[in-house]
């Protein structure tokens, strides 16, 4: 039929004709075996949908936790600040000045001489002395002195003591209290004077004077 083939045939001896016949290439018919498409498509769409939905959920949850983190951080800051200020309040309550003020208001004074009880034999070490009002100390600064112009001399009016004093009279009670106060004050002054007196020393003007 076609010329090249016949030429080949003529050129080669017919020896290999059978082999050539056998070796002739033929086209394999197309396989028309069709795989079912549905599972594949549904698998892919399933993957796609799960992926997208999953990503969306993941993102949402990330966002959500980011919100939570932010608000919790804020809360932590607020709570830390609160803790700090409560701590500061506690320290203000523990302030020795405040404690001393309260103790003084309850009538307490520091003890003058330390003494201990030895627990092993119950013996008292040191000489315990009762604490006295004189042991008390001033815990607040002296008020600033007023200038002279604001300190008028006290006006002293002397009145005669009434002859009949009724016992139930409030005035007499008050007077008693006042005189007791005065007596206290006087005693205090005397104590101070005595203390000062024992240590008062004559000043001397010579060089290198020292006590």
């Amino acid at each position: 039929m076609s010329t090249p083939l016949s030429q080949a045939r003529t050129q080669f001896p017919r020896l290999a004709e059978a082999a050539v016949e056998r070796a002739r290439l033929t086209v394999v018919p197309r396989r028309t075996q069709k795989a079912p498409r549905v599972p594949f498509v549904s698998l892919v769409s399933l993957l796609l949908v799960t992926g997208v939905v999953g990503l969306l959920l993941f993102n949402t949850s990330m966002q959500q936790s980011s919100f939570v983190a932010t608000s919790m951080e804020e809360q932590a800051t607020v709570l830390a600040a609160k803790e700090e200020s409560l701590q500061m309040q506690l320290e203000q309550l523990r302030d020795p000045q405040r404690v001393a003020t309260r103790a003084k208001r309850m009538g307490m004074v520091p003890a003058s001489s330390p003494a201990f009880i030895r627990l092993s034999d119950g013996e008292i070490v040191g000489k315990p002395l009762p604490a006295e009002p004189a042991d008390g100390m001033r815990i607040n600064p002296l008020p600033t002195a007023k200038p002279k112009s604001l300190r008028p001399d006290p006006v002293i009016v002397e009145i005669e003591q009434p002859k009949a004093v009724r016992k139930a009279d409030r005035k007499s009670d008050r007077a008693e209290a006042a005189s007791a106060n005065r007596a206290d004050a006087e005693r205090g002054n005397r104590d101070e004077a005595r203390e000062a007196g024992t240590k008062k020393q004559k000043p001397q003007q010579s060089q290198g004077r020292t006590r």
Partner: protein, 601 residues
């Protein structure tokens, strides 16, 4: 068969008839291809041009704009370290704080109610706030500064809830000193912008301040973007500083000192409490002092540490150093007999005692107990100037103590080469030399500590000051100044000072305890005339229990007006502080009877 199985598709060798049919198709593809290429090239070149414009021409401007849109950087503030006392009680602490600010252009209409809320909840003046809220021609006014964050937020929330505007907050850290004036002289204080201005706050600032960090993240709609850029540099908080001060002892000492200074009409005063064995300073008090929370309410002169910055002549307290040196050199014993004349002419001066007496026959113990200048001068004649100077300078006179307190002065001990006879005489009883209170306390403490001088310390452990010096209990040095025997004998002599009949300071005695001490009443060099102006420095240094000392207390009052001396002003203050210490630290009396050195012969 061969025919039927041949492929239908024509190969390259297929004959002609199919060619004319396929040529136009191939041409169309080529055309499509070329058109496509051109289109793509055009699009890509547009992209390229845009890329060049963005990256090449003004990349920085765009980058900056991009950052400005999404990125947010916040400073993560480092917390300033706490300063605590020896037991961990805070003396200075930092709080998260806010300042409340106002924009008067917005707040003016509601100024009344806003001011009412602010003034009722914070410590500010209603009328001042009102004025600031209404201030014309400004958009920024401070309403309250250094408010603890919780309080500030509550106030601002209330204002906003009521629907008022123009109020905002900004970070403004609070430095709080919960014990107010306690140890304020040591701690120093902070300025309005949170910068350290004095004291330990200033010299340990490198240690305390720490380093601010920062956080950068992308923001969207007021929230952090979860997967956005995010970088955090964590802040380095400042280190804490622990002092050897005991807050309660410091408080008590300050109150006793204030009572002593105010009670005597004194100008100022200082008190030192040392742990005898370790040199740890349990209290270092100054009066007048200030409230570290409100330093500006006090006079600038009161904001320092007078006890180490101011020098004065120590007076008779210094006699114990002379006596201890004489004992150490083996030149005297506590019972050495010294004939004391009524007055002693030396060079062109006459040395006298504070009380008039005829010729006295005192032992060295008697000289110390009665604080006789003449007796001390006669005893010190055993020394050459070089020897006395050597001892006094090894007691630390004329040198800094190395405690680390800023502004410490070294005092003055004149070089012995220039001493005349009268110089040596006055120096032997504490005039003509000057010291600061901590220095003098340290010197006397060497006697209490068995002859070993320990450097006083104020910082527990160790800390580096801003000038690079390491201070603290870890770096404390100790050196022997006098023999243990000389120290013990001096302490025994000092016990006679608190003797109820013979001593100069019976008020310093503590019932049941052996107390060693020495009074001092020195002439004071006035600031104006630079000469002795008739004012005095009175002081008392003592330690207890005398035979096994635990604490040393030194009290100094400058210029008392009540004609008192070291025994009557310093003595009672010493008594109170020492009793408190012995009780607080549970130091029982030793129970060993005191030796009875005769005072006279």
């Amino acid at each position: 068969m061969t025919q039927g199985t041949r492929p239908r598709t024509p190969g390259p060798s297929s004959p002609g008839p199919s060619r004319p049919r396929r040529r136009p198709a191939r041409g169309a593809a080529l055309v499509r291809l070329r058109v496509g290429f051109i289109l793509i090239a055009m699009v890509v070149s547009v992209f390229g041009a845009r890329l060049f414009q963005l990256q090449g021409i003004d990349a920085k401007a765009y980058a900056a704009r991009a950052e400005a849109v999404g990125l947010e950087t916040v400073t993560l503030p480092a917390t300033r370290g706490t300063i605590t006392d020896r037991n961990g009680a805070p003396l200075a602490e930092s709080l998260d704080g806010l300042m409340i600010t106002a924009n008067p252009t917005l707040s003016a209409p509601d100024a009344g109610p806003i001011a009412k809320i602010v003034a009722s909840r914070l410590d500010v003046d209603y009328f001042e706030v009102l004025e600031r809220l209404r201030k014309p021609d400004t958009q920024f006014q401070y309403i309250a500064r250094r408010v603890p964050a919780t309080e500030a937020r509550a106030v601002v929330a209330e204002i906003e809830n009521r629907g008022y505007t123009g109020i905002d907050t900004e970070r403004d850290p609070v430095r709080a000193y919960p014990a107010k004036d306690v140890a304020a002289n040591l701690l120093g204080f902070m300025g309005t912008e949170g910068e350290p201005l004095a004291g330990f706050e200033l010299i340990f600032d490198d240690l305390l301040s720490g380093k601010d960090g920062s956080a950068t993240y992308e923001m969207g709609g007021g929230q952090k973007l979860p997967l956005g850029d995010n970088s955090v540099v964590a802040p380095e908080n400042g280190s804490d500083l622990q002092l050897t001060i005991d807050r309660d002892v410091q408080w008590y000492t300050q109150r006793v000192l204030r009572e002593a200074v105010q009670g005597s009409g004194g100008e100022s005063g200082a008190a030192v409490v040392l742990d005898t064995r370790t040199g740890e300073t349990l209290a270092l008090a100054d009066h007048p002092t200030f409230d570290a929370n409100e330093p500006m309410l006090s006079s600038p002169a009161d904001l320092g540490t007078r006890s180490v910055s101011d020098v004065y002549e120590p007076g008779s307290v210094e006699k114990v150093l002379t006596a201890a040196a004489l004992l150490d050199a083996g030149k005297v014993t506590p019972e050495t007999k010294i004939p004391v004349p009524a007055e002693l002419p030396r060079q062109d001066r006459v040395i006298g005692d504070y009380w008039d007496h005829g010729r006295l026959r005192l032992t060295l113990t008697g000289v110390i107990a009665k604080s006789s200048n003449i007796g001390t001068v006669l005893a010190a004649d055993e020394f050459s100037p070089e020897e006395l100077h050597g001892y006094l300078s090894s007691f630390g006179l004329g040198q800094k103590t190395g405690s680390g307190i800023p502004g410490e002065s070294r005092g003055l001990l004149p070089a012995w080469e220039g001493w005349s006879q009268i110089n040596q005489d006055t120096i032997s009883f504490g005039q003509g030399v000057s010291v600061n209170a901590l220095q003098m306390a340290t010197a006397v403490n060497a006697i209490a500590n068995g002859g070993v001088l320990v450097q006083p310390s104020l910082v527990e452990g160790s800390a580096t000051t801003s000038d690079g010096t390491e201070v603290g209990t870890d770096t404390t040095t100790a050196r022997r100044v006098i023999s243990e025997r000389a120290a013990r004998q001096t302490a025994e002599m000092m016990e006679a000072v608190t003797d109820p009949e013979e001593g100069t300071a019976p008020a310093a005695a503590i019932e049941g305890y052996r107390v060693a001490g020495k009074t001092g009443t020195a002439q004071r060099v006035g600031e104006e005339c630079q000469c002795y102006d008739g004012t005095f420095t009175v002081s008392f240094a003592g330690f207890a229990p005398a035979d096994d000392p635990r604490f040393l207390v030194y009290v100094v009052v400058q210029d008392p007006k009540n004609d008192g001396g070291g025994g009557s002003i310093g003595g009672p203050a010493f008594h109170k502080i020492m009793s408190y210490l012995l009780r607080k630290y549970a130091v029982p009396p030793t129970g060993v009877p005191a030796p009875d050195h005769p005072l006279e012969w």
